[in-house]
């Protein structure tokens, strides 16, 4: 028999604290679809995705019903298109992107990720074609996400790619200007991209992954916040941060168990191997489902106040410790997300001027994933965007961690304006970017060499 506390606590997590499974992501390898003939290649892709994804949404909904835990998003990740579509030019890449979009719509998934290139050490012709195709590809599709890995701790930073991405982000924003540059919300630049991320826009299926696999992304910032609030208000004694870390750890355990259990059952029903549970605390714009609110629960006036980086470091670590005990298959990004527009509390702090791009950059040195969903002035020079990317890649490269940049230079908007992307992408005020000119530095090109892996300090 269940105890009262077990029943009430589970109900509270579901009803009042926004516990859900943020995403079940089906990974599909496209290596066996390869052809020199574009029509044949796209037909193969669509057939394979249909073969494995036809029942994904129905099965996720059935299992969500069975346990009373909603699976909010159902998604697909595929092999990096720049690799499997290497023979094709930019026009061909756009056609592939459209075929993927059709496959995603047919499967009724929210997003499909993997329109991606891995260029940390250099470009192939396929990589160049894909990056060149980005503005048109993202403007002419609805559900495709793209990730470009431009740096790694083993290879350094490909500064030619960084320079190119500054340009392409601007062009993508222009190509989707009618929708406030939303194409850039589906485009992310990475250092040390993991091969098994279930979250968008970074999801793709790495070359070392199985033919098909189910990865799952849990959620739970609301659950963590409420658990901290309860601990602080209900215990009769003064809590220390050690106690709070323990509360976060236990809560992360619960949240991860839910995700892993549902992911494994989806995998079993679809007869597909289970891959990983990604422990990231992923917020939504809903009040009460925010990572930013956790900072207030821990005594800061707002996220961005002095102490923010320390709180984030503790939060991120405690989440990993609890999650790692709950699941033996942990992977992906597994940390706290701080996407500005997608988190009502972070967005409010940024709009009120309490949280700057510089502070966000500092925070990314202790959490995953990076400068995420930040709206900047539409006239921000490409070299400035590239400079911001280079800084963020350097943090990832030196600290052997994943970092990323998802900036949206919103056409026609400036600091003081706001932009609404809708749905889970949320809304944001335009944030000022650092002053100064990086043009000459970015123009140098070449590669920042990989760092030394000893003499750590």
């Amino acid at each position: 028999m269940l105890s009262e506390r077990e029943v009430i606590s589970t109900l509270n997590m579901l009803r009042n604290e926004h516990l859900d499974v943020r995403t079940v992501t089906l990974g599909v390898s496209l290596f066996d679809c390869v052809s020199h003939d574009l029509d044949l290649f796209t037909a193969n892709i669509k057939a394979k995705i249909h073969r494995y994804a036809a029942d994904l949404v129905r099965v996720c909904n059935d299992i969500g019903d069975k346990y009373g835990i909603p699976v909010v998003n159902k998604r697909i990740s595929v092999s990096p298109i720049a690799v499997v579509g290497a023979p094709f030019d930019a026009d061909g890449m756009v056609r592939i992107c459209k075929a993927l979009d059709e496959a995603a719509k047919e499967a009724r998934v929210d997003f499909l990720g993997g329109f991606s290139a891995l260029v940390e050490k250099g470009f192939t012709s396929g990589d160049r074609a894909l990056i060149e195709a980005l503005p048109e590809a993202l403007a002419s599709t609805d559900r495709i996400c793209s990730s470009i890995n431009v740096a790694s701790s083993r290879s350094g930073i490909n500064m030619d790619a960084v320079a190119l991405m500054g340009e392409q982000i601007r062009k993508t924003a222009q190509a989707t200007a009618a929708h406030d540059g939303i194409g850039c919300a589906k485009l992310v630049v990475f250092a040390n991209i993991p091969q098994d991320v279930p979250f968008m826009a970074g999801a793709y299926l790495g070359v070392g992954e199985p033919d098909v696999v189910i990865n799952v992304g849990v959620s739970g910032p609301g659950v963590v916040k409420k658990a901290i609030d309860r601990a602080l208000s209900q215990t009769g004694r003064q809590l220390t941060l050690l106690d709070v870390a323990e509360v976060i750890k236990r809560t992360a355990f619960k949240v991860t168990r839910v995700g892993e259990m549902i992911g494994k059952e989806v995998a079993s029903r679809l007869n597909i191997p289970f891959g990983v549970a990604d422990l990231s605390l992923a917020p939504t714009p809903a009040v009460g489902d925010s990572v930013g609110e956790i900072f207030q629960s821990m005594g800061l006036s707002s996220i961005g106040a002095p102490g923010t980086t320390a709180v984030l470091a503790m939060l991120n670590d405690a989440v990993k410790k609890g999650g790692a005990f709950a699941s033996s298959s942990v992977g992906g990004l597994s940390g706290a997300f701080i996407p500005v527009s997608e988190d009502s509390s972070i967005e409010a702090a940024a709009t009120a001027g309490l949280l700057s791009l510089e502070k966000l950059e500092a925070m990314t040195s202790v959490c995953s994933v990076g400068l995420d969903m930040i709206a900047i002035p539409g006239d921000t020079p490409a070299a400035t965007i590239s400079g911001i990317i280079a800084d963020e890649m350097a943090i990832g490269m030196i600290n052997n961690k994943t970092t990323a940049v998802r900036l949206i230079p919103v056409p026609g908007k400036n600091v003081g304006d706001t932009v609404s992307f809708g749905g889970l992408l949320g809304k944001a005020g335009i944030m000022p970017v650092p002053q100064g000119d990086a043009t000459a530095f970015i123009t140098l090109g070449g590669r920042i060499p990989a760092p030394i892996h000893s003499l750590k300090n």
């Binding site: 028999m1 009262e4 077990e6 606590s9 589970t10 346990y67 839910v258």
Partner: protein, 204 residues
Amino acid sequence: MYILPLGLYVTLFKDDIMHKLSVSLLGRDCPGVVAVVSTLFEKAHCDVMQVSQTILSGEFAAIFIVTAPNELAPQQLATLLEEALKNASMDFSVIVRTAVEGYWGSDKVCQPFVVTAHGPNRSGLIAPLSRIFARHNVNIESLKAILNEEDLDQALFVYEIMVPEMLDLGRLRRELTAEGQQLSLRVSVQHRDIFEAVHRVLPV
């Protein structure tokens, strides 16, 4: 003559002279109830095989499944227990019946679900949902009513049920939800595994 293994001989012999009884007790809780009852079982050569007890609002209830000598009839054991409890100044009702082998659902493949119904407390909230379970041949294994300590007008009912696998779960859920709405109750139906996964570190 066949030579039987010792264990089998003992079992046959034991089955021949023992029978299985279910003993249930209900009365005001106080220290010493289990001591009185178990001492009497010992004297009467009854062997306790299973026991479950609970206390609700100061009322003690227990069910014992015992093996008793064949010559000890259910009513005799009940009388012995009543006298022993009375001698210890304990006011208890005792029922003893011949235990029936097997249990409901042993021939069915069932899945454990937890149904919760939450809302303003008033009389008549349990019967309508229970009737739906009965109509679908769903067995209630545990039912708890939990009153909110901060708000006594709010009640939470927790039904742990066994649902035959062949049953249309969606239909059961729809009927429960519709009935719940009429009673201003918010109903949820969830597989029991989720409660255990979240809260328990299960043994390996």
